[in-house]
């Protein structure tokens, strides 16, 4: 057993066999069970009218219909409760002075932090593992499992969990007390919600612009089944940023000036890397229904058009723009990565409010419509491209599923009884062994 693995085993034990860890895992089980049950009930009720109607059935997709709402519970748990499990891993070492023990063993600050991050990652994997019965049950009910889309969804939540872990370690390294670190980390995590709320309430244009950079905005890609390079890089960079900050703060051997220099350099490098990664928009639609893509014929035609520029005379907070963005622009960006979009401001904006101007090869076309039916003829006319016929394409059938009420009790049994009892049994068994040995002393 290598020395690093000895440390890793210690850290895994520190996170898994604590009461906080146990309570969190039980909470994951309860919340996942409840979210899954509610989602399945709704999906089943709505499926009643779709089973004999193929056109209506096309709208039934298990991931957005069942699994995204199920993982929604995990999102809240990660955001509000995970810091309480992760922070003590580091803050208790600081408070109790055992960091002095670890650092005097043949471990560096880097080793200690890596072991703790790895243990936290295993804990995250465990929480994801607790959601796996959902897929098994869904399949047992006769439901369809779209693996690629689910992989994207789970990856997104794993990345989000890792983000919470990184913020927690940063807070634990920054503050002396566990309580302060917990409050600070939750504040940082919830900040993303506040920005999104500000955007939705149209508080300021600054918040609206900032909302493009929030964690929740980037998690949306994964929830929608889009494998986004930018969003993935965003999470990787953000996690690395907070882990590096935690590492620098943890190093008591550095002088204040040296620490500040390193912190500053990290912030600059992070912002630079983030800016560079946001320049590309490499996204792939992983959904079975290809719901984020235009029809194959339109996609093929779009791929033939040269550089496209769009001038938007509308505020980002305008509901029509949001509609335009969700139903047209995001789909377009999945096909064409190099579109130049200019959000007009000032007098120009007020003068032509609501207008969209499309430019291709020096020619331009204008419209006030945000509907693809109006936009495509303009674009294809400017590009001199014609759209072919959609033929031979397999139509997504949809997967409505009606489940009897009695069948749903198994969800309650698994998530409210079997999993929690198993977790408690493991915990009690481990502690009982200790108590018995202690009494024998």
């Amino acid at each position: 057993m290598s020395r690093l693995s000895i440390l890793l085993v210690k850290e895994i034990r520190d996170i898994f066999f604590t009461k906080t860890g146990l309570l969190f895992l039980m909470l994951v089980s309860f919340i996942t069970g409840y979210s899954f049950l509610t989602a399945v009930e709704l999906y089943s009720e709505q499926s009643l009218s779709a089973v004999n109607n193929p056109l209506y059935a096309r709208g039934f997709e298990p991931v957005p219909g069942v699994f995204v709402p199920t993982y929604g519970g995990l999102f809240v748990l990660f955001s509000l409760f995970l810091p309480f499990v992760i922070i003590p891993l580091l803050s208790l070492e600081k408070q109790n002075g055992t960091l002095a023990v670890l650092i005097q063993l043949p471990y560096s600050f880097k080793d200690i932090l890596i072991a703790k991050i790895s243990a936290a990652f295993f804990f995250l994997l465990m929480t994801i593992l607790l959601t796996l019965p959902c897929f098994i049950l869904w399949q047992l009910y006769g439901g369809h499992i779209p693996f690629n889309e689910l992989f994207v969804l789970i990856s997104g939540y794993l990345l989000y969990g890792l983000f919470v872990v990184s913020v927690s370690f940063f807070a634990a390294a920054l503050f002396e007390s566990t309580a302060n670190a917990s409050i600070f980390s939750i504040l940082l995590i919830v900040l993303s919600w506040v920005i999104d709320f500000g955007k939705n309430m149209d508080v300021s244009t600054f918040l609206t612009s900032l909302s493009e950079w929030t964690v929740t905005r980037n998690l949306k890609y994964f929830e929608q089944g889009i494998l986004s390079f930018t969003a993935s890089m965003y999470f990787v960079l953000l996690c690395s940023f907070f882990f590096i900050l935690a590492y620098i703060l943890l190093r008591f051997d550095l002088r204040i000036k040296s620490k500040l220099k390193r912190l500053f350099a990290t912030v600059v490098l992070f912002l630079l890397a983030l800016f560079i990664s946001f320049q590309s928009s490499l996204n792939t639609d992983m959904t079975e229904s290809h719901r984020h893509l235009f029809s194959p014929a339109v996609t093929k035609a779009l791929q033939e058009i040269p550089d496209l520029e769009i001038d938007v005379y509308m505020k980002k907070s305008d509901s029509r723009f949001r509609d335009y963005q969700n139903k047209f622009l995001n789909k377009l960006l999945l096909v064409l990565n190099d579109i130049k979009i200019r959000m007009m401001t000032g007098r120009e904006l007020n003068k032509n409010y609501g207008l969209f101007i499309y430019r291709i090869n020096g020619k331009q076309g204008k419209t006030y419509s945000n509907s693809e039916k109006e936009i495509f003829p303009i674009i294809f006319k400017l590009a001199g491209v014609s759209v072919g016929q959609d033929n031979g394409q397999q139509v997504f059938p949809g997967y409505p599923l009606v489940i009897k009420k009695e069948q749903l009790t198994i969800i309650q049994s698994v998530f409210y009884l079997v999993i929690p009892l198993t977790l408690i049994s493991i915990f009690v068994f481990k502690n009982f062994k200790l108590i018995r040995r202690d009494n024998n002393d």
């Binding site: 057993m1 020395r3 000895i6 440390l7 210690k10 066999f17 604590t18 408070q95 109790n96 002075g97 055992t98 002095a100 023990v101 650092i103 005097q104 063993l105 043949p106 471990y107 560096s108 008591f252 051997d253 550095l254 002088r255 200790l434 040995r437 202690d438 024998n440 002393d441």
Partner: protein, 247 residues
């Protein structure tokens, strides 16, 4: 007085291996240490004594690399030792405010230290009397046994210098004799000790040299004979010298 006879101290006259030179440390406007300098001989036991708040723990933190001084430096065999990883190779430090993993059993902690360091000393576990409580959770140990576990950690290595901050806290008189003997034994094996002790009676039983610190400054340093001579109090106890020196 068999007990006192066994505690007879022979002052080693080894070479000056560790030099603490002009160490200063400030916390905002508070001066914690002000140009602290003294030397530690190889194979000796140096006692850092002084009233509460004198700066003893800060000094030990700096010697062991857990804090950086604002000025001054530490020299080992006349070579500067400034990086933490250099100090870590040389010095084992037991801080005073160390609470070892409360939810671990004694055995789990011992195993972890032994596996991580690759150093096993069954004699040390036996002397510290830890084997009989191996399955007890650390949170259920008495203060004395928790202190033993801290000593186990500090001594479970091959480092040349052992720095202990208040190592005798929490021991009853019988336990104290065992611990004093243990430190003396390790010292006989060639380890150099720097101990921060505020019970002067305990310090007198074990230390070869003393450095008296008050308000962050070194008041005096030397063996008890040197101090007696310096303050003109022949046959006085350490406590009497201490009071005289502070006056």
């Amino acid at each position: 007085m068999v007990f006192l006879k066994t505690l007879k101290i022979n002052t080693p006259q080894g070479i000056k291996m560790l030099k603490i030179s002009n160490i200063s440390k400030r916390y905002l406007k508070t001066v914690a240490l002000d140009k602290v300098s003294f030397e530690v001989s190889e194979g000796s036991i140096m006692g850092i004594i002084g009233p509460n708040g004198a700066g003893k723990s800060t000094l030990l933190d700096i010697i062991s690399g857990f804090q950086n001084p604002d000025e001054g430096g530490i020299y080992y065999n006349d070579q500067p030792v400034s990086l933490f990883k250099e100090k870590k190779q040389l010095i084992s430090y037991m801080p005073e405010n160390l609470t070892i993993y409360p939810d671990y059993t004694v055995a789990a902690f011992i195993d972890f230290i032994q596996l991580a360091t690759g150093y096993e000393d069954p004699e040390l576990i036996k002397t510290l009397n830890l084997a009989k409580l191996k399955n007890r959770k650390i949170r259920h140990l008495s203060k004395g046994y928790h202190q033993r576990l801290k000593l186990f950690f500090a001594l479970s290595n091959r480092k040349k210098i052992i720095v202990l901050d208040e190592p005798f806290n929490g021991f009853d008189p019988v336990q104290l004799i065992e611990i004093l003997e243990l430190i003396k034994e390790k010292n006989r094996q060639g380890r150099t000790f720097i101990l921060s002790i505020h019970h002067l009676y305990d310090a007198e039983k074990i230390c070869h040299y003393y450095t008296l610190i008050d308000e962050g400054r070194v008041v005096t340093t030397g063996s008890i004979e040197t101090l007696r001579h310096k303050f003109g109090v022949e046959k006085a106890s350490l406590e009497q010298i201490f009071i005289r020196a502070l006056q």
